[in-house]
């Protein structure tokens, strides 16, 4: 059996982080960040396989986090799944470097499939 994949969950709402953890299979390792700055620090620390990123984050917005990840040599290939509240258009988000995106409120199954597809790439 191959090693377990690491998923970094970035969302300021603890209830949603818990929902995301519950929605995904138990086969992942999780790292959690409540704001944009913590998200970047944690990303370079744990070198995740997938990042789930809410765009509305304290301290550093999700789009800014996305931009910095894609400029980082070590992290630029990590797939990022963006969670939006439908404020941004699909084109904007994908142009900013996201691998996929789900809108709030999201189907747990839809997120699970998106993460699995991203992790196996």
């Amino acid at each position: 059996m191959e090693s377990r994949k690491t998923v970094l969950i970035c969302d300021d709402e603890p209830a949603l982080r818990e929902l995301i953890r519950a929605a995904l299979d138990d086969g992942y390792l999780f790292a959690e960040a409540g704001d944009g700055v913590a998200a970047l620090d944690l990303a370079s620390e744990v070198n995740p396989d997938v990042v789930i990123l809410d765009l509305m984050l304290p301290r550093l917005s999700g789009l800014e986090v996305l931009a910095r990840l894609s400029r980082d040599e070590q992290l630029r290939d990590v797939p990022v799944i963006v969670i939006t509240a439908w404020n941004e258009t699909r084109e904007d988000v994908l142009a900013a470097g996201a691998a996929d995106f789900v809108t709030k409120p999201f189907e747990p199954d839809r997120l699970r499939k998106a993460v699995r597809a991203a992790a196996e790439r």
Partner: protein
Amino acid sequence: MSRPPVSLQTRLITASAVLALLVIGVFVALIFAVSATRTATREETRSRRITTSAIRLEKLVVDVQNGVRGYAITGNARFLEPYKAAVRALPGQQDEFEALASGQPRQRKRAHELNAMILDYVTYFADPVLQFTNRQAAKLASSDEGQRQADDIRKQFGKFIRAEDKLSESRARAADAKSRHAIELAVAGLAGSTVLILLFGLYLSRSIARPVREAADGASLLAAGDLSLRLSERGPGEVGELTRSFNEMAGRLEETRVELEEQNAQLRESERLKSDLVNTVSHELRTPLSGVLGFTKLLLSRDFDSETRRHYLGIIDAQARRLAELIDDFLDMRRIEEGRFERAKELVDMVTLLREEAQLYSQQSPKHQLAVEVGPKPLPVMGNPNRLRQVIGNLISNAIKYSPQGGIVEISAEAENGSVRVEIRDEGMGIPPSQQPQIFTKFFRGDAAASGITGTGLGLAVSRDIVESHGGRIGFTSAEGEGTTFFVELPGANGRGGEQGNSPEQS
């Protein structure tokens, strides 16, 4: 300036009248000169006729004298022929002479005397010759006495003619002088009129043409959008009025434009706030909704142990409550917009209310310590307990949200000059001075969205409306990076049985 304004019309009419009078004066002077010349000519002609008449008369007298003398010396009747003719012509010539000379009193007198002398001479010396036709009478007529009388007459004629010449000359001189004066006057008048017309033209161009030109140019600039343009307001009467009205109009246009621009900016700001609200609502509603729907879906699709199930149901409950609160806020906002807020009259003890609210919120954030500092005595106010609870809850919730690093939230209340003053102090980020004036504006959230602080931007707007509908006031002091203190002052209800605490029956 300080002179009473003379209307332009009056000035123009006055100037035109002065010019017209001047021109009339010039014409009168010229007519006078012409008529003086004509009179002089007429006088001269008359003088010439008088002189001619006098010479003719004198010649008749000489004819008479010569006839008498010739006959007396020679006795030849041939000499009597011119004499007879002269005597026949004399009365007519005398009448003509006297009539012509009657224009001037002295000459008339002289003429009259001359005629008398001639009559005398003819009667006493010449007529006897004619009647008797004898040489004796002729000798008498040409005697020394007759000769002397005839010489007197001729001398008198000489005097008369010289006087007439002199008179004519002086008349001509006077006429010349008059005519010269009149012409001088006319020339001066014409020169004066010319200068005045030039000055008038200059005045017209300076005081009317130029300001009107400026006003026209100004109007073009105004039409092109330069509303800051103002004209010089100097100018006589109506021109001054025109420029003043122009400036007033430009001023009003500018004011209107500024007003419109301000309104436009306000509209745009309100549009932006609304658009922000849509984003906020979208995010604020979708986040708890995600929790509710997501956990519900999980619970429906998978089996969890009872503890996990309870935990998830707890989360669903909390998220659903948050949704309900948000909807309340929006409804309150609607009430604010429609200007209606129910205000139940009930005695509410602020001390009890503060304690309960602090208790409620202290469970929400482990990072914050809520310190309630109130005295033992109740602080009653009249009002709607649910609404007042909403205000206090909102302020405490803000104190927690805007001090994300944690810390102490101090809640105090005291009676002050018949009112109850509540203070809620945090050690958070504070409010930047630039944002302070907008804090109570609907949907205004400052940097909260960027900082990830939740909210609708309605809490303080709703709170202020509630406090003001209770006859109180709400405010704050804040230092950026040090914290914020909000206060609420409500009219105290101590005089109305406040000591008895909450007693709904009394309302």
